[in-house]
Structure formats: C-alpha cells, structure tokens
C-alpha cells in the first residue's frame, strides 16, 4: 500500500491528464480527456498534503470531504472513497469532468502555492469511472416518510435535489420537459466533454434511489406548479434552467445558417444530428463557421462545428482573451484543435445570398474601456474600424435567459426584472413549499453551482417536510 512507503516530498507538478491527440480528436466526438489510469491516480493522490485545516472543501459548492476521499483513494480503498464523495455529491462522474475546479477546490489547494494544485477533479472522475465500470452499488433505501416532492427539470439542480430527498426517504417525482433526462448535461454539453452514457448512468443512480421520472412533461403547460401542490405534492422544486437563447438584434440575424448556440448544440447533442441521416435531425454546416461569444457554450459550439467537418472555425469575441468567461482549459483545448480566435471584434450585421443564406458578416473592432458592472473592462467600438468577414455559418453564443413558462403559469410567484425566480440562499421562493435553484434563479452559471443550489434547497426542503409532518 502506498501509505506504508516512506513518503517522498510531493512533486510540484500535477500528473497530466491523458488526452486524445488534437489532430485525431478534432475528427471525432469521443471524449477528449481519457482519464487517469490507476497508477496515475495513485501518484496524483500522493501529492495531497492532508492539511489539518483543508481549504479545498471551502471552495467546493457541495462541500465534498476532499482530503478524506483522497486519503481513501491513496490507501486503495476505492469503494469507500467513492462512497465518501457520494455522501455529498450524487453526480461525481459529471462533476469530475465539467466543474471549473481551477476556480473552486483547486484554487484553494495549498499545493497551488508552491506548484500546481492537486487535480481533485481528475481524482473524483477516476473514482466515479472506477465505480461505474465495476457496477454501481444500489444505495440503501431509507424508510419512506410519506412525503411527496415534485422536481421540475432533470438538469444538475433537479437531479441533485431528487437524489438528496430520495435518500432521505421522500417520494420524488421528476418531470422533464424533453424526451430525455439530464437537461443541459444532455442537450448542452457535448459528448466529447461529457459522454451521454455517463449522464444516463447518473440518472439511473438517482432512479435507483427511488426517484420516478417522467419525460416530455412540460410543467406549466401540463400541470402547473399550484396544481402539483393541490394534487398531493408536499413541496415542489423548480430547476428549469436557462432556456431562452439570446440574440443580438442585428440586421440579417434571421438569415439561414445563423443558429443560436442552443439550437446548434441541441441538434448535435440531444438529437445526434452528427449522425444524420441515421438519426433524423439534420444540421447544415458551411465551410467557414463563425461562433460569436467567449463562454464555455461558445467553446463547445466551436469544437462541435470542427468535429462536424467545418474547414475553419473562428470565435469572435468582443473583449480580449483575459476577459473570456470560458474555462481556461477549454480555450486551450479549442486552440490546440485549430480553432481561431478573433478578439476585440463585434458583429454589426449579416449579409445573405440570393437563397437567403448567410454569406458574410460585418464587424467593428473594439477597444477596452474602464471596467463595467461585471468588473471586466467594457468593450467600446472603434470608430471607422468596420470590416467584413466571409462566413456561411454563424453560431450565436451570447447567453441565454430564463424560460418564462413556469413563471407565467404560477400565480403569485415572485420574479426578478430579468425573469429569474426570486429565491433565498436556501432556494425558498415566496410561495410556501415551492423552492427553486440553478440557472432559473441565478441566470446562466455552471453545473456545479446549480448542484450546490440543489444541495441547499434539498436540505431546506427536507426540514420543511419534517416540520410539516410534525405540525400535522
């Protein structure tokens, strides 16, 4: 056992993540990062200092007991290690892949002060993958409390709430509007970053915990939230995410060949149009693809377009590299694959051909002015710097706003001026028994912050349900 060996001074550098070569991976949809081997995982785990006052946990929105699971891993106790993670996080295979650990747990890691932080996310992923390959243990069921909870949306927030409340013995029913569960994990994040089989396995785990799932149930149009409460649900969690795609309101934006990132990614990820015509949903991609935006969704779109066979993919972003909200790792991956970036440029209008298909885009150069509300320097157009780019496919990845269906069909539900649902830090809305969390409350954010919100809401909902029983 590694623990019995004399412990050498930990290496400053992390064990690198094995990846598919850029030249190869740009032509396939298989996962880019292939995951640590057992040896690599043990080596990386050995770098953990096992701090008496671990800072990493404070950086984790769901408070995974990081040093404890790393210690168990180091001791070769993989089963116990994954169990330790699952005490706090029901979806480790997903978090290990898509969490921005560099801004969370790993940012706080003491090893980061002397070299690279411990690759906590990669270790989490290793354990989750190990467990999945071996076969996931069916969790023990708690005796039923007799309480029933409706979870609206099966994305990261909803799945977390469902898992936590089911574990506590409440009857959970998940209503998913699409025909497949997983929310953004399925329709938004591409296969090469998060294989759909992994999402399916995590959904199956939540179902094994006792949660029931209905696909194709659009709450608001089918049953409304007040009706769910009337029909015997003791509490409702709303985790409907950031649905509505934003457009820029520019001339020519409705030309053919201009997709919202949501449309593009839904076609490719959820509907598998990369396998058209084996799968029935088409996608048409030209040779010169332009992606507008600088977030993770823009990266995902650009890298998907490349894999679909685009000759050239260029990201157009109105600020500079430093202000890009995308994960650094993803920008790096994208550039390695040959994606071009045009910084400090903003589209102004689109030109179409005689068939109504986009053929060019006019942009204006930008320069950075003083910081705005987000703390990033505000881009300002440079007068007279307009230029035209040839393009035959444009993907608009400039953000998403909340889907309004629940808000407009739930009488009395307090909503912000941005259309997000108002909820306190525990996800409690102004309606008794109704909780909300994730992008529908915060606006577009990350998978893990949605899970963190789900975690807190589940705790508050559990307390609410217990109190409700006591009062009866």
């Amino acid at each position: 056992m590694a623990e019995n060996n004399p412990r050498p001074k930990p290496k400053k550098e992390a064990v690198p993540m094995p990846k598919q070569e850029p030249k190869i991976r740009r032509d396939n949809f298989n996962e880019v990062a292939t995951g640590y081997t057992e040896q690599q995982a043990l080596e990386e785990a050995s770098r953990c200092l096992q701090c008496p006052k671990p800072q990493c946990i404070t950086g984790c929105p769901v408070e995974v007991p990081i040093p404890e699971f790393v210690k168990l891993l180091r001791e070769g106790k993989y089963q116990e290690a994954i169990k330790k993670i699952k005490e706090k996080n029901a979806l480790p295979a997903i978090c290990g892949r898509v969490c921005p650990q560099e801004e969370q747990c790993q940012e706080k890691c003491i090893m980061g002060k002397v070299g690279e932080p411990v690759s906590i996310g990669r270790l989490e992923r290793y354990l989750a993958d190990w467990e999945r390959k071996k076969g996931v243990e069916t969790p023990q069921k708690t005796s039923p409390t007799g309480k029933q909870v409706a979870v609206v949306g099966s994305g990261p927030a909803g799945l977390t709430v469902a898992a936590d409340l089911a574990k506590r013995g409440h009857k959970v029913v998940i209503f998913e509007a699409l025909h497949l569960p997983g929310g953004v994990l399925v329709y938004g994040i591409p296969e090469f970053r998060l294989p759909k089989s992994i999402v399916q396995a995590e959904v199956d785990y939540v179902k094994k915990l006792g949660a029931e799932l209905f696909n194709g149930y659009l709450i608001g149009r089918i049953h409304t939230v007040p009706e769910l409460l009337k029909r015997g649900f003791d509490a409702v969690f709303i985790g409907t995410g950031a649905g509505l795609p934003a457009f820029m309101g520019l001339p020519g934006e409705n030309l053919g060949g201009i997709y919202s990132a949501s449309e593009f990614l839904i076609r490719v990820n959820l509907m598998k149009s990369y396998a058209f015509p084996t799968y029935d949903t088409p996608i048409r991609l030209g040779r010169h693809v332009v992606v507008i935006g600088g977030g993770n969704v823009a990266m995902d779109s650009a890298r998907s377009a490349l894999r679909l066979g685009a000759e050239e993919v260029c990201i157009v972003y109105r600020r500079s590299r430093e202000e890009m909200p995308a994960r650094h790792e993803e920008v790096e991956n994208a550039e390695e694959e040959g994606i071009l970036c045009k910084f400090l440029a903003n589209p102004k209008k689109f030109f179409g051909d005689e068939k109504g298909w986009v053929k060019a885009m006019e942009c204006v150069c930008m320069e950075l002015g003083p910081p705005d509300d987000s703390g990033r320097r505000r881009p300002v157009p440079v007068k007279g710097s307009e230029f035209v780019m040839d393009t035959d496919t444009v993907i608009v990845a400039v953000g998403r706003s909340p889907n309004p269906i629940i808000q407009s069909t739930t009488e009395g539900l307090a909503v912000t001026k941005w259309g997000t649902i108002m909820a306190d830090e525990n996800g409690k809305t102004n309606i008794d028994g109704v909780y909300a969390g994730g992008d529908i409350v915060t606006g577009e954010a990350t998978v893990i912050s949605a899970m963190g919100a789900g975690k807190k809401a589940a705790k508050a909902m559990h307390e609410y349900l217990v109190k409700k029983s006591a009062n009866r």
Binding site: G216, L218, L244, N254, Y259, F276, P277, Y279, D280, P282
Partner: protein
C-alpha cells in the same frame, strides 16, 4: 410511450391519429400544438392538435406525409406506440365572442380548423368557413365543417371543385363585414389571406408552424419577425397578427433544411424502413 388509438385516412397522404395522452388531453385548448418523436433516432416535429377528449384521455392530430418522419408515422398502425409526445405547447387561441368570424383552413390544417370553428361557434360567434386545397381530392372534412359553420365555401388551386383560388374572398369581404379572421394552412395561403383582409382592417390571426426542435422556447429556430420584432413561434405563438408577420422571411426559413429533408426521405424510401422506392 403513447399508444395510437385510431388511425383515419382524411385524404391521399393526409392521416389523422388519435393517441392516448391523458395529461395532455386534460390541458389542451384550441390553437395549441404538440411535439412528437417517433423513436430514439427520430426528429422532434410540431403538429397542431386537431381534437382532444379529456374523458377518453386522448388527443388527435392530422399530418401530411411529406417528409421522412411523417411518412414513417403514416406507416404506423392502431395499437403501435410513439416514443414521446409533449404538449400542449404554445399559447391557446383567444376564443371569445367577436361577432362575425371568417375561418380559413388549407391543406392538412383543415383538421384543426374544425376545432377552432366549433369553439368559436360555442362562444357565440357567427362563422363563415373556407377550406382549400391544391386539388379536389385533397379536400376533407367538408361535411363536418359545413355542419359546424353558418356559411361554407370550398376552394381549390385548380378550380376542380369550389372556387378557383382565394380571389373570390375579395367579393365576400366587400359584401360582408367580419370582426375577425383566422387563417391556418400553408404560409403562402396565410400571406394571401392577410393581404386580402388588410384593406378591410379585419383583425387577422395566422397560425404559424415554423421549423422547431424543442418546441418550448429553447432553440430559437422558430423565430419569426412580427411587427419588426423577433418572436418565437413556439412560446410567443403559434398565433400571430397576420398583418404584421414577415411571411417572406418565414418561407425562407422553412426551406432552410430542404436538401437534408429530401435526402432523409430518399434514404428512408430506398434503404430505410419503408423500401417503397419512392412509389
């Protein structure tokens, strides 16, 4: 899974399915649509709901076998199951007493038009119904619509039955005052109707079915320009003010995937599950 309870031929290549979907049936109102996906390799397509029966727990929809998905659907039989149906989607029609209403339906949309007419009649309106198709044998529901309305016209593009084209409406509109017009059918038809009612200032509602993927506001492919503003067909519609819709843009957007749609259909007919060889 959603079971097909009955299947009816309305006209050549136009079929009506009644499927079991109790929660959808309970909530549907006229004007709404559903999204359907046949199997896990399928595409999601929007279809206007033609009828609903909350007691029986069923909804009905008509479709025209034009593409791969609708052709595949057409081969399904009573008792077969559809992977997923999501609905009811979109804003329901505003059904109230307007007075004298002109209801115009073309092609496959004649089926949901009947539902509109019945609801408007029940709300106390006088209804003049017009149904149209390319040729005589593509018309259907004549008797039902005739029985449900106060006045009834038919029209065909070639004049094989009823009036030839929709230009006869000019006279109708000159003679009679209408308080509202509803048009559902091919985009060119709705465009023509809107142009005819505009000089008479008759509030005209058109029911748009642009290309959709999710049908609930997520993808934005169904965007249409109405009064110069971007609207989503699925959540802001499907009904819009016909005098404000940019129909030419809509026609263009509906043709976006035409080559792919043809390819998909061809593959299905030659090597896919149909094997009819396009016959």
């Amino acid at each position: 899974m959603y079971e097909i309870l009955s299947k009816k031929d309305l006209a050549p290549k136009i079929k009506l399915f009644e499927v079991s979907a109790p929660p959808i049936a309970e909530k549907t109102r006229p004007g709404q649509f559903l999204m359907l996906i046949i199997d896990e390799k399928g595409e999601r397509i929007p279809l206007t709901i033609s009828d609903y029966d909350p007691k029986k727990g069923s909804v009905s929809f008509a479709f025209n076998e034009v593409g791969k998905t609708t052709k595949q659907l057409g081969l399904m039989k009573k008792g077969d199951s559809i992977l997923n149906i999501t609905g009811p989607l979109g804003m329901p029609s505003s059904i109230k007493k307007y007075g004298n209403v002109l209801c115009i339906g073309g092609g496959v949309m004649i089926a949901p038009l009947l539902l509109q007419i019945k609801a408007l009649r029940e709300a106390g309106n006088t209804v003049t119904a017009v149904i149209g198709a390319r040729i005589k044998n593509l018309l259907f529901n004549q008797n039902e619509i005739k029985a449900a309305s106060d006045k009834f016209y038919t029209a065909t593009d070639d004049g094989s039955t009823g009036c030839k084209g929709l230009s006869f409406l000019k006279e109708v509109l000159d003679k009679e005052k209408f308080d509202r017009c509803i048009a559902m059918g091919p985009v060119v038809m709705m465009k023509e109707v809107s142009a005819l009612t505009k000089p008479h200032r008759i509030p005209t509602v058109v029911n748009l079915m642009p290309i959709m993927v999710d049908g609930m506001g997520m993808c934005g492919v169904c965007r249409v320009t109405v009064a110069g503003k971007m609207k989503f067909g699925c959540v802001d519609g499907p009904e819009f003010d016909g005098h404000e819709v940019d129909f030419d843009e809509l026609v263009n957007r509906q043709r976006m995937f035409l080559p792919e749609e043809r390819l998909s259909s061809l593959v299905w007919e030659t090597v896919g599950g149909c094997k009819c060889g396009g016959k």
